[in-house]
């Protein structure tokens, strides 16, 4: 049986550290391109999905 955490924010990727705060792991990227790359890698590693909050913050959520 597969056990995992679902429907929670597993990681946050941002280009603007000012906009995030809290207990999830935060990955700070220098630009949008790097943020997308980190997002792709994290989504594959965590088998999860990247969502865009449209303010330079991306969250990785497993559904």
């Amino acid at each position: 049986m597969e056990v995992g955490i679902k429907e929670t924010i597993l990681a946050i990727i941002t280009t603007d550290p000012q906009k995030v705060f809290g207990s999830s792991p935060v990955f700070i990227a220098k630009d949008k391109e790097e943020a997308n790359r980190i997002g792709l890698l994290l989504s594959r590693i965590l088998k999860a999905m990247v969502h865009d909050l449209e303010n330079g913050v991306y969250i990785v959520v497993k559904h």
Binding site: N36, G39, L40, S43, H51, D52, H63
Partner: protein, 296 residues
């Protein structure tokens, strides 16, 4: 006595023929294995045999023999459990699952088919006893086709109209026409979806259809059938291509999004049309006074 034996044999043959007739292998592909066939034909044989004995036993004044039918009913309830368990287990490793409602529907059908086999055998032996073997055989064949016709059930085609929709992005939101499907962050996934994805809109024909399609089990059944027929590029660990259905809360129309292996919108629409309407999902608010009054 010899006459009774041939009547019973005729009943069994008709019953088994009915079971084979109902065991069409279609795109839902269940059962698609030789062992599945053997199981169901064997159980069909038992059902046919039990039912064929009932009327001849009554003629011989062996009234207790009819209690056999009770035993049969018990046996066939187990079939439903068996089907449900098998399909639920397979579900865990399925990328686009059938959903519990669909499984329940399939399990119910498998149980009911054995009762239909008994009905065919009873009809055949009944007519054979009171008239003759030829009339029994004809009655059996007619009842086989009659059961096939009566058990056909509804399809999405009967309750809704499906039209192509425009798949587009509003910033990070994936939309089909005006219905939001989901938020997608990855630019690669967005590009791929715009290139290969398909969006269609399902318009329910009336309030009954709207309530039925509102059922999540029914929606999952549609998604499963679409993915089974045209394929889906969904891969484990890459949820961006998950086929989804979302509703416009104001109008009740549903948007379906899928990234198919074969981008053929006609086939996708046909796949949706051919999805059966699940018994457990069917709702008929228009059959009640309140529903009718609220609808106008």
């Amino acid at each position: 006595m010899k006459d009774m034996a041939s009547i019973v044999i005729l009943g069994v043959i008709m019953g088994v023929a009915a079971r084979i007739f109902m065991l069409r292998n279609d795109y839902r592909s269940y059962p698609s294995y030789p062992h599945g066939y053997v199981t169901h034909i064997s159980l069909g044989f038992i059902a046919a045999f039990l039912a064929s004995l009932a009327i001849p036993a009554l003629m011989e004044k062996e009234y207790t023999a009819v209690t056999f039918l009770v035993l049969a009913a018990q046996q066939f309830r187990d079939i439903r459990n068996m089907e449900r368990e098998t399909l639920s287990k397979l579900e865990e490793l399925s990328l686009v699952p059938r959903g519990l409602d669909y499984i329940e529907g399939i399990a119910k059908v498998f149980e009911a088919r054995n009762y239909l086999v008994m009905l065919v055998s009873l009809t055949t032996t009944g007519f054979a006893v009171f008239f003759n073997l030829q009339i029994g055989a004809i009655a059996g064949i007619i009842s086989i086709f009659l059961t096939g016709f009566l058990m056909r059930g509804q399809f999405v085609r009967d309750i809704a109209e499906v039209k192509p929709g425009k798949l587009h992005f509003e910033k990070s939101l994936l939309m089909v026409d005006d219905i939001v499907i989901m938020n997608i962050g990855s630019p690669e996934a967005k590009e791929k979806i715009l290139q290969d994805g398909v969006g269609v809109v399902i318009h329910p024909k009336d309030d009954n259809a709207r309530a039925t399609l509102n059922n999540l089990g029914q929606r999952q059944a549609i998604l499963h059938d679409v993915a089974a027929l045209v394929g889906s590029k969904l891969e484990t660990g890459e949820p961006d291509f998950t086929p989804l259905m979302r509703k416009n809360v104001d109008t009740g129309k549903l948007a379906l999004f899928v990234v198919p292996n074969e981008k053929d919108i006609e086939c996708i629409i046909e796949a949706i049309y051919r999805t059966p309407v699940l018994e457990s999902a069917t709702q008929k608010p228009l059959s009640s006074d309140i529903g009718r009054k609220a609808a106008d």
